[in-house]
């Protein structure tokens, strides 16, 4: 097993040193007790809550609202949520008079039941943190119930920050993994530190270097590019396992096509690209049957204007952030 940095405030990884922690601590010192942690998965929300608890010797109490068994609540889910959270925040153990941090997972569950629940939550003497992973808390109809809560925003981590963290884990766990592999893990983690650590663990267990395939795509992107740009897409299997991967391939195509196609051919390729992009967005509503068309548009659409054997591979990677906003 990997050894991970302990949950301590000084071990918290963020894009700009201290930007989130100092803001959070300042509000705490000002007496604020209710917070919403908003940000995508794997950027340290629950780590910060754990750190706060351990650095100040407080108890951390997690409340998972999805675990509520709706059969046993007699249909009154909102009362159940309120009592779960308020009990967690206000109950005191007779053996232990430490303060508490109550960490409620998933504001989205509350919103889906009834956003006015937020107003009924009482922190008491504890610190109450509600985790939220979507933008729903910023909607006007939900936001008005959240005026007592201080919003703390978390952002996807930059690859270099993820890499630094991985390097720390590598040193602590004393595993031999090269820098370039760390780079690859960090890059494919999409700024999610949890998935980066999982991948490092896989690597530590399997011990292979060649066996590392990227989390969100396999490493055959070059083979695929070569195949479609040299006009022979049937040589290669174009199976995508997620819409993300299809999108990634689109971006590669968009980056590479202008380097050796011009005029009408380029226009044609982008015509195909934009069509498959539209289809990809339709897949969001669970219409997976459409993915096969995307695959074929991307392969035959591009291949049909390319001459066999005229393509020279340029291995530089597309500049992600120009194209794709997380």
């Amino acid at each position: 097993m990997l050894k991970l940095p302990e949950p301590k405030l000084e071990n918290f990884a963020e894009n700009y040193s201290g930007a989130i922690t100092s803001k959070f601590l300042a509000y705490l010192r000002g007496g604020k007790k209710t917070f919403v942690f908003n940000g995508p998965s794997g950027c340290g929300k629950s780590f910060l809550a754990e750190s706060l608890a351990s650095s100040n010797s407080l108890n951390l109490k997690r409340v998972n609202l999805y675990a509520i068994n709706e059969d046993e609540t007699d249909g009154n889910v909102s009362d159940r949520i309120v009592s779960l959270v308020n009990n967690a925040a206000n109950s005191r153990s007779i053996f232990d008079n430490k303060g508490k941090v109550v960490y409620v997972e998933d504001a989205e569950k509350i919103i889906s039941v009834d956003p006015s629940i937020f107003q009924r939550l009482e922190s008491g003497s504890s610190i109450l943190i509600i985790e939220s992973e979507s933008g729903d808390v910023f909607r006007e109809k939900n936001k008005r119930f959240l005026d007592r809560f201080q919003m703390i925003r978390f952002y996807r981590l930059k690859p270099e920050i993820v890499k630094l963290y991985l390097a720390k884990v590598r040193a602590m766990s004393a595993i031999g993994v090269s820098d370039s592999l760390l780079d690859r893990i960090a890059e494919s983690s999409k700024g999610n530190i949890m998935s980066a650590v999982t991948d490092l663990n896989t690597l530590a267990i399997t011990g292979g270097t060649a066996m590392l395939s990227r989390r969100n795509t396999d490493n055959s992107v070059f083979e695929r590019l070569e195949a479609v740009f040299s006009g022979a897409p049937s040589d290669i299997d174009m199976h995508f396992s997620s819409e993300y991967e299809a999108k990634l391939f689109e971006i590669w195509l968009a980056e590479k096509a202008p380097t050796f196609l011009t005029g009408r051919k380029l226009n044609f390729v982008f015509d195909r690209l934009s069509f498959s992009d539209v289809l990809l967005n339709k897949i969001r509503a669970q219409r997976w049957g459409l993915l096969k068309y995307v695959q074929n548009e991307l392969s035959y659409g591009v291949a049909s204007v390319c001459d066999k054997g005229s393509f020279r591979m340029n291995y530089s990677a597309p500049r992600w952030n120009l194209y794709y906003k997380f």
């Binding site: 998965s41 998972n64 999805y66 068994n69 569950k109 049957g289 035959y300």
Partner: protein, 314 residues
């Protein structure tokens, strides 16, 4: 008489066809005795469930059935049921093993609410229990779970791998299959070994000689020859003839989605349409498919597509 699916189901990692990369990772995990939570993603019938079972066998040896459960889509997927089952299983101590394993087969059908609840359970029981999810598309698993799992990708099997497998069964069972029939079997099974083995068993019950006509007739897949004919007619400008051909499909009660998906495989895999026109035709087909899903009238959409095809004639 035994089911061939069980008979030919691999019992060890070395019997699993293709998938070297994923199998090597699993082997390494067994060797180290350390297993992470895992997502296995890939099309049906390429060995995801089998790999999970083999993993449990290799890890736990003779006590594998005590330390491994499989929850599949036919079980109740209500949150309370999942919670009950997982808790009951995960709470007790593993039997002469460091941990237990739970396989969620066809996890695509888990609602995101259920997945959110599972995410918490994964943390709670991570000391005693490993979770394995088998899915067709990785995107159907919520990100917090994805990031806790090692992702193993299972690739569609190549033609030659499928043919090799057909040969193996033919040899053991004493079947007579010519190369045309092999191609037909490969085509109707679409790289899905489970459906391949089932088709072969039902055909072998009829006769020990298998021909391509029999395969197409009995597989429930639409008559590819006829679809080809209909498309050919449209491309050569004979709209009326192609309309007639496809009308017989629809009048015969064929589902438009099934028909479109067969038309797609014919268009994509044959040279019926010139390479430089292929992507336009596929675009039209995709639109047809999408509009039908959205509730448009199949008959009109199909005719519009055929009319488009008949303009292609030079």
């Amino acid at each position: 008489m035994s089911l061939w699916v069980e008979k030919y189901r691999p019992n060890s990692f070395d019997e699993i066809i293709g998938q070297e990369e994923s199998v090597n990772k699993l082997k390494a995990m067994v060797k180290k005795g350390e297993v992470q939570h895992i997502i296995m993603s890939g099309p049906p019938g390429v060995g995801k469930t089998t790999s999970a079972v083999v993993l449990a066998r290799e890890l736990f040896g003779s006590v594998w059935e005590e330390n491994f459960i499989e929850l599949n889509a036919s079980d109740d997927r209500k949150l309370s049921v999942i919670q009950g089952k997982v808790k009951e299983f995960a709470r007790s101590k593993p039997i002469s093993a460091p941990f237990k394993m739970i396989l969620f087969d066809e996890a695509d059908s888990l609602t995101s609410e259920a997945q959110q609840a599972l995410r918490r359970m994964m943390e709670e029981y991570s000391a005693t229990c490993r979770f394995i999810f088998s899915v067709n598309y990785q995107s159907n698993i919520i990100e917090p779970i994805q990031s806790r799992c090692a992702v193993l990708r299972f690739k569609p099997l190549s033609k030659s791998e499928v043919v090799k497998f057909i040969d193996r069964i033919a040899k053991t069972e004493g079947l007579n299959i010519d190369s045309g029939a092999k191609e037909a079997l490969e085509y109707v099974s679409k790289g899905d070994l489970r459906s391949l083995v089932n088709t072969m068993q039902s055909l072998a019950n009829l006769s020990s000689t298998i021909s391509s006509e029999v395969v197409y007739k009995n597989s429930g897949v639409l008559d590819v020859g006829k679809i080809r004919e209909g498309l050919k007619a449209a491309i050569s400008g004979d709209y009326m003839k192609s309309k007639e051909t496809f009308s017989t499909f629809l009048d015969g009660g064929v589902n438009i989605k099934e028909l479109v998906s067969q038309m797609f495989s014919v268009v994509a895999s044959s040279d019926l349409i010139e390479p430089n026109m292929k992507s336009y035709v596929i675009e039209k087909l995709a639109e047809l498919d999408y509009r039908v899903i959205e509730g448009a009238t199949p008959f009109i959409q199909l005719q519009a597509f055929l009319a488009f095809l008949s303009t292609l004639k030079k």
